[in-house]
């Protein structure tokens, strides 16, 4: 180097005492923040736990009673159960997922992998965000107008499932979209560089990589669908015809698999008996139903975490 001048010590612009003071201050702030945030998180946990404990303990006597879980509800007498409602809730959930998963998966793959980045795509993405914030009662009313009246399908499982699909697709779409977008580009490039087409890369690399997040999202959305009432009141209806599990005649209103029959779910049942129920054991039935609902949703969430973690472990570590 051409630098021949005697090296001058650089002037000290920073006072070491000030640095120490600053670090001290920062440490105090950090400590205070930790305490406050822990307190907030703790309060939320306590609140949640209290709600859960309250709901489950209030309904425990009913919720763990096999007779309550299997027998049909009563109109005027006490001792009614929630058998059909329980079945309806699961049946509607499965139908909804069967319809909404392929649709949202396809749409998400299109939006992430294929859609050109132009105003149409941006408009679609905005529309989906708007849709996901639509109140579910509005979705329900729309379903009522379209499926129940316009298509004259009446209060039926299919009307309910389609309304739930409309409610579920925006949520699912966003989850899957985010999961796909989170797959690193170099995985995509690696697939393409092996001479795979874009479709093959999507199916064989992107989807498996995104699968843990997708599964978690699907199960969490299932929890929301399972507990949904407003979208169903005017679509799947508020009556639960007694079910005959020996019937496989898909036109028989008592056939559980008949998609043209009305089907009250657990959440709708809670709403109905509380608003217009006349059974004497109204509170007990309502509490029991609520407990069953909460336990199911809790189970969904636990399964979601477990499945997601298991899968991502399998995919990323040894």
């Amino acid at each position: 180097m051409a630098n021949t001048a005697t090296p001058q010590p650089a002037p000290r612009l920073i006072d070491p005492d000030a640095v120490v003071a600053h670090v001290e201050k920062a440490r105090r702030q950090s400590k205070a923040a930790t305490v406050i945030l822990t307190a907030i998180a703790g309060a939320i946990c306590v609140l949640l736990a209290a709600i859960l404990v309250y709901i489950i303990s209030a309904g425990a006597s009913k919720a763990f009673d096999p007779a309550f879980l299997t027998s049909p509800p009563q109109q005027f007498k006490e001792g009614g159960g929630i058998g059909p409602e329980l079945f309806n809730s699961f049946y509607l959930l499965v139908l909804t997922l069967v319809i909404s998963i392929p649709l949202s998966l396809g749409a998400a793959i299109f939006l992430v992998e294929y859609a050109p980045d132009n105003w149409v795509t941006r408009a679609v993405k905005t529309a989906i965000e708007v849709l996901s914030s639509l109140p579910s009662i509005v979705v329900g009313l729309f379903g009522f107008l379209l499926f129940v009246l316009q298509m004259s399908w009446g209060f039926s499982i299919i009307s309910g499932a389609l309304a739930l699909t409309m409610f579920n697709i925006p949520i699912l779409l966003r989850v899957i979209q985010q999961a796909l977008e989170a797959v690193p580009t170099d995985q995509r490039d690696a697939g393409l560089a092996l001479g795979m087409t874009r479709w093959e890369t999507t199916v064989h690399i992107l989807l498996p990589c995104a699968m843990p997040a997708i599964i978690t999202g699907v199960i969490l959305s299932a929890g929301r669908v399972f507990g949904e009432a407003a979208a169903l009141i005017y679509t799947a209806g508020q009556s639960a015809p007694a079910l005959d599990f020996t019937s496989f005649d898909l036109t028989n209103p008592a056939c559980p698999w008949n998609i043209w029959r009305p089907a009250e779910t657990l959440a709708v049942h809670i709403w109905k008996i509380n608003s217009e129920g006349v059974v004497p054991d109204l509170t007990a039935v309502s509490d029991g139903t609520a407990a069953v609902l909460v336990i199911c949703i809790l189970a969904f969430n636990l399964i979601a975490r477990f499945a997601g973690r298991r899968l991502s472990k399998k995919l990323t570590a040894e």
Partner: protein, 304 residues
């Protein structure tokens, strides 16, 4: 394991032998003398492999212009890529080396707003007009700067390409996997860990796994974009050795910022500057007797 490999890679060639580059075997190409920069610079002529005369061009680019939207990233690039040789692309950061490399297997197709003009041929076939991109990439494989194994077992990583191209018999796949891992000089390290997840490997192992994955579909040409920049010297050494050994069966194009690496492994070198291909020729000529002053400035700047 690693210790042994290091020993094996120590220079074994006597000075006299090194002075006759024509006799250099592919294995010797990667010998690294880490003594000092000066010595390294002095050693260039010892390491460089001879340039086979009149090697036919495997790939050719004619007047290639590439635009990222408005940005003119490659300007009238003409380059022949000789068959069964290693061609190195050098140049300062941002000059378009990666862009050019990605032109050769059409990886730029995926970039929004990217436009390619001119002609790129593989064995005389115009790859932008007469060849399906997936088919092209089967014949022109690529290894990336950062090792990017798939999140699956070592075995599945290598078997991935062949499976996607219709090979399903387990015995055939076993053969391909073993052969590819051997070719990528990583078989001995990984043969007992074929079921381990590819993401759990060291950087050097992962990169050689990626090379094996690329080799498994038997490409004609292998493109490597700074494939050793994320690796430690020992792994780098192994990959370089590998490149030297593979060139007899493949045609290799690599991008490197390490000019010594270019001199060690490449028979031909092309110097890029601001989207232009300034000069290309036998590696020795580019480093010792560049015709263009810009090339001279660049290579001499690096070598003191």
């Amino acid at each position: 394991m690693q210790q042994q490999s290091t020993e094996a890679n120590k220079p074994t060639t006597a000075p006299g032998a090194a002075a006759t580059p024509a006799a250099t075997r592919p294995n010797d190409v990667s010998l690294i003398d880490r003594a000092s920069v000066l010595e390294e610079a002095d050693a260039i002529s010892h390491y460089a492999a001879p340039v086979p005369s009149n090697a036919p061009a495997k790939m050719r680019t004619r007047n290639v212009n590439l635009y990222y939207g408005e940005f003119h990233a490659l300007k009238h690039v003409n380059l022949n890529i000789p068959e069964h040789e290693v061609t190195a692309l050098i140049g300062p950061s941002g000059c378009g080396k990666s862009t050019f490399l990605r032109c050769l297997n059409r990886m730029n197709d995926l970039i929004e707003g990217c436009r390619v003009e001119g002609e790129v041929t593989l064995d005389g076939i115009d790859v932008y007009r007469d060849l399906d991109p997936a088919l092209l990439r089967c014949r022109v494989g690529m290894v990336f700067q950062h090792p990017n194994p798939f999140p699956m077992s070592v075995y599945d990583n290598v078997a991935y390409g062949p499976r996607a191209h219709g090979i399903t018999k387990r015995a055939d796949l076993d053969d391909i996997v073993e052969q590819s891992l051997r070719d990528a000089a990583v078989w001995d390290e990984l043969k007992d860990r074929l079921d381990a997840n590819g993401l759990g490997l060291s950087g050097g192992q992962a990169q050689r796994l990626c090379i094996a994955r690329a080799l498994a579909i038997a490409p004609d040409v292998l493109l490597m974009d700074e494939a050793t920049s994320a690796l430690d010297p020992i792994s780098t050494n192994k990959v370089e050795e590998l490149v030297g050994a593979l060139k007899d069966r493949y045609t290799i194009v690599l991008v490197t910022h390490n000019m010594l690496q270019a001199t060690r492994v490449a028979q031909k070198t092309a110097f890029f500057l601001m989207g232009e291909m300034v000069e290309a020729g036998p590696t020795m000529q580019i480093f010792e007797d560049p015709q263009d002053t810009r090339t001279k400035d660049y290579v001499s700047g690096r070598f003191g």
